[in-house]
């Protein structure tokens, strides 16, 4: 099912974007839905689309040494996946629908080609995606700090002299 420009404009990522650019994106945008527990994308497979979640939630998973680890969840209104933009255009993680999930899927190869041909679209899209990437990077850094852990709490308090 194709998607109207109005629906795309409602998405946070495309809000305030020039209507002519949204029209180009809408050309190859469709709705997709996934049942809870099913994979939306799989690590290592071709990254053929750019997703925006319109309903539900996706769990981003990476294969650890012995088991799969959920590294983050992505919620309604958020963008999912940028591997369609970066060579070799393969997903670097998997995403599984954590609940019944609906997404806007935009053809990745088409978007790349349009960005190459239309620098204004390329800049606008990248600017917005970098904003998402920046937030995710910052969140990952904070997550790395393990901010709630008892050992950290212990170290802080020992330093402060709490008994």
């Amino acid at each position: 099912m194709s998607i109207s420009i109005e629906i795309l404009k409602q998405q946070l990522l495309f809000r305030d974007m020039d209507i002519r650019l949204v029209e180009v994106i809408a050309e190859k945008a469709v709705f997709k839905s996934f049942k809870a527990g099913t994979y939306i994308i799989r690590e290592g497979e071709p990254a053929d689309a750019f997703y925006i979640i319109t309903r539900g939630k996706a769990a981003l998973e990476m294969n650890g040494r012995q088991h799969t680890v959920v590294i983050q969840t992505v919620d309604t209104g958020e963008a999912l996946g940028w591997s369609w933009l970066v060579a070799p255009f393969e997903w670097t993680f998997s995403a599984r629908a954590a609940e019944p999930t609906e997404l806007i899927a935009i053809d990745g190869a088409y978007l790349r080609k349009q960005c190459d041909c239309n620098p204004l679209l390329g800049y606008e899209l990248l600017r917005r995606i970098v904003d998402v990437l920046s937030s995710r990077l910052q969140a990952a850094r904070v997550q790395l700090l393990d901010i709630y852990s008892p050992p950290e709490y212990h170290r802080q308090n020992v330093k402060r002299g709490v008994k």
Binding site: A139, Q143, D146, I147, Y148, P150, V162
Partner: protein
């Protein structure tokens, strides 16, 4: 203190109940040994608890302020005295000085959206405020509680979440590391701020957790438009006397025990950026 003794002399209480909340973390219910009168406190205040033979430490009050017969504290066993405290049994004595410090100003949020953000054991000092908000729910517009924890089994007071939801609180939870049973959000608590559905210009935020979590959460609240003087935080330092005499808990011009532990973020934000403090 309403028990009639000076603030440097512990009042004798006895343990009535102790129970495990999450790994390494216990709640301790105590009551006065003699008929010493009612104990009253404001949400966010703390007591100095004295385990005889082990030492005295500051612990936030985590129970319901309406209950004046018993007091509940939630303690994480991380050091010699706190470990000794978690090993106390019903009937054993404990010394209490307090309550001390500033409190969560619920009045500031009257008619406004309320955002309560808790990280890890930071939910303990916020729970009395949650009880107050539930009791006086009509005074506030929306009340949203955001909780971040390391893992699902480290979610404090999880048995009360359904009751709180039914009492008019919106609750959103995230964990850093999920197990297979967890179907909720994974990621840092700051991420929940953006989807809290608050009117930032008309919101009062109450934030408690490790200091690093407080800084990131306050920054996120401000990014969405909550003013720094409408964000209240609770700080920790090495508190000894509890009344601003000894200076152990000094943070720049403030004594945490007397001028805090609850501060407006606008008061403390620059001090929190100084590593040496």
């Amino acid at each position: 203190m309403t028990l009639g003794l000076d603030s440097m002399t512990p009042v004798m209480f006895e343990v009535t109940r102790i129970w495990r909340e999450i790994p390494q973390t216990y709640s301790l219910e105590i009551m006065p040994q003699q008929n010493a009168g009612a104990f009253s406190f404001y949400p966010g205040q703390f007591n100095m608890l004295y385990v005889f033979g082990s030492g005295e430490i500051p612990i936030s009050i985590s129970g319901n302020p309406v209950n004046r017969n018993t007091i509940i504290h939630t303690i994480r066993s991380v050091g010699y005295t706190s470990r000794a405290m978690t090993l106390l049994r019903p009937g054993e004595p404990i010394g209490v000085r307090g309550p001390f410090g500033t409190f969560w100003p619920a009045n500031e949020a009257e008619g406004k959206d309320v955002l309560i953000v808790a990280g890890g054991i930071g939910l303990a000092p916020l729970r009395p405020l949650i009880y107050q908000m539930i009791t006086e729910r009509d005074r506030f517009h929306s009340v949203t509680l955001l909780i971040g924890a390391r893992a699902p089994d480290e979610l404090l007071y999880s048995g009360e979440f359904d009751i709180w939801r039914k009492s008019g609180l919106a609750i959103d939870i995230t964990v850093d590391k999920a197990n297979e049973q967890w179907h909720g959000s994974v990621g840092v608590v700051t991420k929940l701020v953006g989807r809290a559905g608050i009117d930032p210009a008309n919101t009062v935020a109450y934030v408690c957790g490790p200091e690093i979590m407080i800084r990131f959460t306050a920054a996120e609240c401000m990014k969405y438009g909550v003013a720094a003087d409408q964000i209240f935080i609770s700080l920790e330092r090495s508190m000894e006397c509890g009344v601003g005499l000894c200076g152990h808990c000094q943070l720049g011009p403030y004594f945490i025990c007397k001028d805090g532990p609850v501060f407006r973020y606008a008061q403390a934000q620059n001090l929190l950026k100084i590593r040496e403090l």
